[in-house]
Every structure is written in structure tokens, then in C-alpha cells.
């Protein structure tokens, strides 16, 4: 998710000077943006070799770790913000990682593709899994192994005693606050432990 509009929308949720852990940081663009514009410090976690290299080339701290093995190297509440931007849908242990995010960070920010978006619903209504710019994969080759909606995630947060500080949809980089589960391709939640 290196779309500048989306990056800016996420960055607006991150306090200036925050210590940030970016889980599934990709090529490090968001972390570099937060360092430059929000005066943040911290680390990205990434598994993919090419992304790790891209982070090293940008000069952001990157840790090559497998999120499916948990966040053991990070102490409780050791980050102001933990980001999971377009990461959750790839995780086998998505629920554990959500709890871990809230353990390690004072605030967690989670963004993921919303399968409740009307376009996706229409597609399923026609009897087909959605293939869009946001979800460009076929059902048989998609890395998105956790297929959920904005409303589903709200339930998961509640189940894990996480307080939703803010939540909205993102569509074309714009915040969607009216019927986000229907109107937005991306769901964004800002959470903390109760």
C-alpha cells in the first residue's frame, strides 16, 4: 500500500514523534514517510527478501522475521503505535497477531481489504469471487488467506477486548465514514487494549 493518499490517511492517525512498529512493512515507504513527516522512529518487520532489501536501501530499520511465529522479540507496550497495514489478510494466526499488536503497542492501527465493499458483494452475488484493482488475485492464487469485512473485524476486536478508538473506510484515498462496510474497499481500525 504505497499509494500516497492512503499513506497520508494512515499517517494522520500516527502521533508526531511516535515510536512505531510496522508489521509487514513492505518496501518501507510508509515507515520512511512517517520518519520524514511525523518525526517517528522504529522498525519495520518484513519476511520477503526483496522488500527487506528495499528497506535497507531506504535506510529504514527492517527486521526479517516471520509474523506467523509471533512477536516474541518485542516487549509489552514498547511501541506507541503498531501498524498492520495490508498485513492481516496474509496471516495464518491473524487473531493471535491482533492480540500481539495490542500487547506490544499502546495503539494498534489495522488496515485491510474490505470484502464487504459493494463491488465485492455484487461480484459474489453474480457467483464470482471479486477481482479488482485492490484485490487483483484469482481465488486460487490469492495471498489473501483471511477474507473478512469491516463488520467482521469489529466483531473480532470486541471478542478480544480491544477498544476501537476510531474506524473508517478508505476509498480512493478518501476517508469513508458513512456506511464504510458497504462503501469502502479498505477498512481501517485504530485500537487499544481495554
Amino acid at each position: 500500500m504505497s499509494d500516497p493518499l492512503i499513506m497520508q490517511a494512515i499517517a494522520r492517525l500516527v502521533p508526531n514523534g511516535a515510536r512505531v512498529l510496522d508489521l509487514g512493512c513492505g518496501d518501507g515507504a510508509l515507515l520512511a514517510y512517517l520518519q520524514e513527516h511525523n518525526g517517528c522512529t522504529g522498525y519495520g518487520v518484513e519476511l520477503d527478501d526483496a522488500n527487506v532489501l528495499a528497506c535497507a536501501q531506504r535506510g529504514v530499520n527492517v527486521l526479517q522475521l516471520n509474523l506467523d511465529q509471533g512477536l516474541k522479540v518485542f516487549a509489552d507496550q514498547s511501541f506507541d503505535v503498531v501498524l498492520q497495514i495490508d498485513t492481516l489478510q496474509h496471516l495464518r494466526n491473524a487473531e493471535v497477531m491482533l492480540r500481539e499488536t495490542a500487547r506490544v503497542g499502546k495503539i494498534g492501527i489495522v488496515a485491510f481489504p474490505n470484502f464487504g465493499h459493494w463491488f465485492n458483494r455484487l461480484s459474489v452475488l453474480r457467483g464470482r469471487m471479486p477481482v479488482t484493482k485492490r484485490l487483483p488475485y484469482q481465488w486460487y492464487d490469492t495471498p489473501n488467506i483471511r477474507v473478512g469485512t469491516y463488520a467482521d473485524f469489529a466483531d473480532l476486536a470486541r471478542k478480544n477486548q480491544l477498544q476501537v478508538l476510531d474506524s473508517f473506510g478508505l476509498q480512493h484515498g478518501q476517508e469513508v465514514r458513512l456506511l464504510p462496510n458497504l462503501m469502502a474497499g479498505t477498512a481501517v481500525f485504530k485500537l487499544q487494549r481495554r
Binding site: R19, Y43, V52, L53, V62, L63, A75
Partner: protein, 405 residues
């Protein structure tokens, strides 16, 4: 810890290529620096009147900010990169990593390779004369630690007029020295690059070292470490020590791929076996014997004991009740750590312990865990992902120097 050699033809091919490239670019010149003043050692002993062999590559910039120190592991020396003018096949042990245009680019950095005290490649070691007794040190060479080596290296930098290093880099035992630098001289360095290393050795690792040491010490030719005056070398012990070491530097997969159960020379029987318990039957036996023989020709037995002991003793967390995070509080530089997934001698889990300690102290650290098949030896080999990450890290350092070279 040495590069595994491939088949003779492939080796020759690569050495010809290596020679060609090195010849085009980098001629190394070994130098030596003498130190009269006694160096206090961790054990309480001291050593005086010693010398350190070293090599430098590249040019120290005007504000002396581009120096990088390379620390070596068990079986290596100050000859890190390039070749000698009169020995075109004698390629430095990290020549794939260091040189003009290489990941650690000697066109931008001033790189220093130094041979540690107690070694057998030039710096003062057990085969040299003790100035206090006029006798060859032998087993009386003082036990040196990683911390002692770092102190000796710092003295060399003093003599070279280098106050602060852009980076200290090392793999395996060399990585331990780089890590120790960050604790002993935190103000004297900006970056540490720690490859395939560990915050200490675990019991299994000490056990391997102990088997190797017992092989040497129980060789009748060892003479309690004073074999020099008997005109013999405890080659049997050295061979076995090297064979054990070699097994631990490789991965199961690589060994199986390279040797499998292949026989050296099948005889005309149903199975091809010779039905002998002592002759070389399998290729892996032949390989290990060859490596052991080669090693015993040039490596010093007392050096092997000293260096494996230095490995065993290294444990910066020990003074902090085993709390590595507490120990790493003193480290203020930026870090790059690299480990290799199939390295079971210095496993990724050990590197992650260091990473965790640094994160606990909110230090800048990057960590690459390279999915390479070659075991511990991978740190000396050309894995593109490994090379590229190190290249990117040093490029960032070079840019922070403001383009000065």
C-alpha cells in the same frame, strides 16, 4: 572458518576468475605494527613486545571518517581482500565482500584487516619468542579473549590515527568482536555489522570446541604445547579438530547434495563396498580427510586452542546476570545483523537474541535472515540476498559521510 572448496575444476575456474578480477583491482600489502607497552589482559596477565599484522585497502578520507575495521574468525587473518603482488593465487578470505565496487566498497571506504594476537598468520602468537623468557611461548602464550583482541585492535587504530570508525564488521567469531567493540568502545564507532554470530556459545557449541581441543591435546606430538622444541607438529589432533569443525560449518542438506552416500572408488562387488573399516570408502570421508590434512599443514595447534577458548569465554551478558539487554545498554551505534537459516552452529535464534537486546534499548538495528542452504559457511559465500543487503547498508553509511572518500 574456511570456504568449502568445490570440485577441483570448478575451484580452478573460480580462482582464475578471482585472480583476474583481483589482479585488475586490488593488490594487498601486509604490514606489521610493533607494540612495546604491555597490554593488560582480561585474565589478569599481560603481554608486551608484541606485533600485529594488518592490511589496509582504499584511502582514508581527509576527516578520517570512512574507516571500517574487519575482524576475523577462527581460520582467517589480516589478508581480507585482494591478492599479494608475488602470490596471485592468495586471495583474501573476504574478497567477495570487500574490494573496489564490492558490497563493502574500497573506493569509498578505508578498510583495515587485522590479525589477532595468538594467531598463526603473522601477529604475535604461541610460535613466537616470549621477550620475558627468551623461549618460544608454546602453551605459555597468555589466554586471550575477544575483549583483549578488541583492546589490541583499538591500540592499532590509535597508532593509525583513527579516532572513530565508520563501522566494525565481522562474521562468526569476528561478529563477536564487532559486538564487543560496541560495548568496549561505543564512542569510537558508528555502525556494527555482525554476521552469523551469537551473544555467547551454547553448551553444544562449547562441546564441539572441547572435542577439537582434546584431539589436539591428547596427540602424543603435542608435548603439552611445547612441540616446537621437539621439532614435531601434532598433526593428528589438528586433522581431527578440523574435521569436526568442518562438519559443523556445513548443513545436512549441502553435505548430502555434495557427497550423499557416494563411494570414492567402488570396487567390483555386488554393493561396490570394500568391506574395510579403515580405508576411505565414502566421498565425505575423503573430503574430510583432505580438509584435515591441508589444515594440519599450516595451522598452529596452540592457536587452535586459544581461539576456541576465546569463543567459549565470550559472554557479554555474564556481568549482567545473563541479561543481554542490560549488557547492550552501552552500545549506541547502529547495527546490521545477518544470519543464515541453515546455520546450526550460529543459528538465527542466537542473532535474534542480539536483535531483541538492541530493540529493548531502542537502538537502530536491521536484521536479515537469509534463507541460504550452506550452513555456517554461508557467511563466506556469495548469496545475492546477503551481498545486496550488506551493499545497501554500506551505501547508506557512505552517503551519510557526505560523499567524502
Amino acid at each position: 572458518m574456511q570456504l568449502k572448496r568445490s570440485s577441483p575444476t570448478r575451484y580452478r575456474f573460480f580462482s582464475v576468475i578471482g585472480f583476474f578480477i583481483a589482479d585488475m583491482s586490488l593488490i594487498a600489502t601486509p604490514q606489521s605494527m610493533s607494540f612495546e607497552a604491555a597490554l593488560p589482559l582480561q585474565s589478569g596477565a599481560s603481554i608486551r613486545g608484541y606485533s600485529l599484522s594488518y592490511e589496509t585497502y582504499g584511502t582514508l578520507n581527509a576527516d578520517k571518517s570512512n574507516a571500517v575495521l574487519i575482524c576475523h574468525a577462527l581460520n582467517a587473518s589480516h589478508h581480507v581482500a585482494g591478492v599479494y603482488a608475488d602470490q596471485p593465487n592468495n586471495v583474501g578470505w573476504w574478497d567477495n565482500m570487500i574490494g573496489p565496487g564490492k558490497p563493502l566498497d574500497t573506493d569509498r571506504f578505508f578498510v583495515i584487516g587485522v590479525n589477532n594476537l595468538g594467531s598463526c598468520f603473522g601477529s604475535t602468537g604461541p610460535m613466537h619468542t616470549n621477550p620475558d623468557t627468551g623461549r618460544i611461548y608454546g602453551a605459555d602464550f597468555p589466554v586471550v579473549t575477544v575483549e583483549d583482541w578488541v583492546n589490541a585492535q583499538a591500540r592499532l587504530l590509535d597508532a593509525l590515527g583513527i579516532e572513530q570508525l565508520a563501522a566494525v564488521m565481522g562474521g562468526s567469531l569476528g561478529g563477536m568482536q564487532a559486538l564487543s567493540w560496541t560495548l568496549q568502545y561505543p564512542e569510537r564507532m558508528k555502525h556494527a555489522v555482525v554476521v552469523a554470530s551469537a551473544p555467547n556459545l551454547n553448551a553444544e557449541n562449547i562441546a564441539f570446541n572441547e572435542v577439537a581441543r582434546r584431539a589436539i591435546v591428547t596427540d602424543p606430538d603435542f608435548h603439552n604445547g611445547h612441540f616446537y622444541e621437539h621439532g614435531v607438529v601434532p598433526k593428528r589432533g589438528l586433522r581431527i579438530a578440523r574435521m569436526i569443525g568442518h562438519i559443523t560449518y556445513l548443513s545436512d542438506d549441502v553435505m548430502n547434495e555434495k557427497f550423499g552416500r557416494e563411494l570414492r572408488s567402488a570396487v567390483n562387488s555386488v554393493t561396490g563396498y570394500k568391506y574395510s573399516t579403515q580405508e576411505v570408502e565414502f566421498q565425505i570421508e575423503s573430503y574430510l580427510r583432505y580438509q584435515g590434512d591441508k589444515f594440519s599443514e599450516y595451522f598452529d595447534a596452540n592457536t587452535y586452542l586459544l581461539i576456541t577458548r576465546a569463543l567459549d569465554y565470550f559472554d557479554p551478558a555474564r556481568a549482567f546476570g545473563g541479561d543481554l539487554s542490560k549488557a547492550l545498554e552501552r552500545a549506541i551505534c547502529k547495527f546490521l545483523l545477518v544470519s543464515f537459516t541453515t546455520d546450526w552452529r550460529f543459528s538465527p535464534a542466537r542473532s535474534r537474541e542480539i536483535v531483541k537486546g538492541l530493540i529493548d534499548n531502542r537502538r537502530d538495528v536491521s536484521y536479515a535472515e537469509i534463507d541460504a542452504p550452506h550452513g555456517h559457511d554461508a557467511f563466506l559465500l556469495d548469496d545475492e540476498r546477503y551481498m545486496n543487503v550488506v551493499r545497501a547498508y554500506f551505501a547508506q553509511i557512505a552517503n551519510s559521510l557526505g560523499g567524502a572518500a
